[in-house]
């Protein structure tokens, strides 16, 4: 099997929110969660939620989400009957390809959406998921 992941369908409003967050935070990295459901063989992202980048020091190349914000995200998903599907973050002036730092702490199953932002605005968006061999494989965004 060449691709074991479900395709990702990101609703336009969710995609726009992630992109605008990337531009608002530029030249720093932004980060957030997105929620939705898996239905009929598709992972559907219904909306995204901005989260504070708590990384101390230079945020142009790093992001971090606090443990408390993570707990809140899980509780929010449970309360709303949604699934926490993954995390997005931006790569200012850098392609949307996961770095070693992204890989080092990646969890299985989550989708990792990366928004590449250039000086003129968002350049492209790609999504990745960890394989069973702990390597990132690209997901198809429908």
């Amino acid at each position: 099997m060449s691709h074991q992941f479900l395709p990702l369908e990101i609703h336009t409003s969710a995609m726009n929110d992630m992109k605008s967050h990337g531009e608002d935070a530029f030249p720093n990295e932004c980060c957030g969660f997105f929620y939705g459901e898996e239905k009929n063989g598709v992972r559907v992202v219904l909306f995204a939620k901005r989260i504070e980048n708590v990384k101390e020091g230079d945020q142009r190349r790093r992001f971090e989400i606090s443990g408390k914000d993570y707990m809140k995200a899980e509780r929010f998903a449970t309360k709303e009957g949604l699934t926490l599907l993954g995390i997005y973050h931006s790569h200012p002036l850098h392609p949307a390809i996961p770095s070693e730092h992204d890989l080092a702490v990646a969890m299985p199953w989550f989708s990792y959406v990366i928004v590449s932002v250039e000086n003129a605005g968002v350049d492209h968006v790609r999504s990745w998921q960890l394989s069973t061999e702990r390597q990132f494989k690209e997901e198809i965004i429908k």
């Binding site: 990295e29 980060c31 990384k55 190349r61 790093r62 992001f63 971090e64 989400i65 443990g67 408390k68 993570y70 707990m71 899980e74 998903a77 449970t78 699934t83 926490l84 599907l85 995390i87 973050h89 790569h91 200012p92 850098h94 996961p98 770095s99 730092h101 992204d102 080092a104 702490v105 990646a106 969890m107 299985p108 199953w109 989550f110």
Partner: protein, 92 residues
């Protein structure tokens, strides 16, 4: 029984369940009980030396166990323990 909250990305090892309950006196005991009863989850929680992986945080209630006694933090019945994956990264 203490309650352990399983984060979404690890629920594929718990048949989709978000909660695991077991009797244990420490955080480590509770995590080991989870690992014993759910095959495949252990490697995501512990390294080869049996230490908690650096990208896994554990909270008892709203407190990070790193601010308490680490994996040896004592727990009581009705405590809610959460496994929290570290969410971080960056472009370079």
């Amino acid at each position: 029984m203490a309650t352990l909250i399983i984060p979404t990305p690890l629920r594929k090892f718990t048949d989709g369940k978000s909660v695991f309950e077991a009797s244990a006196s420490t955080v480590k005991g509770l995590l080991e009980a989870l690992s014993t009863s759910h095959e495949g989850i252990q490697k995501h929680l512990f390294d080869d030396a049996g230490e908690l992986r650096s990208f896994i945080r554990v909270y008892v209630g709203d407190e990070d166990i790193n601010e308490l006694e680490g994996a040896e933090t004592k727990i009581e019945d009705r405590d809610e323990v959460s496994i929290i994956p570290a969410i971080a990264g960056g472009s370079k």
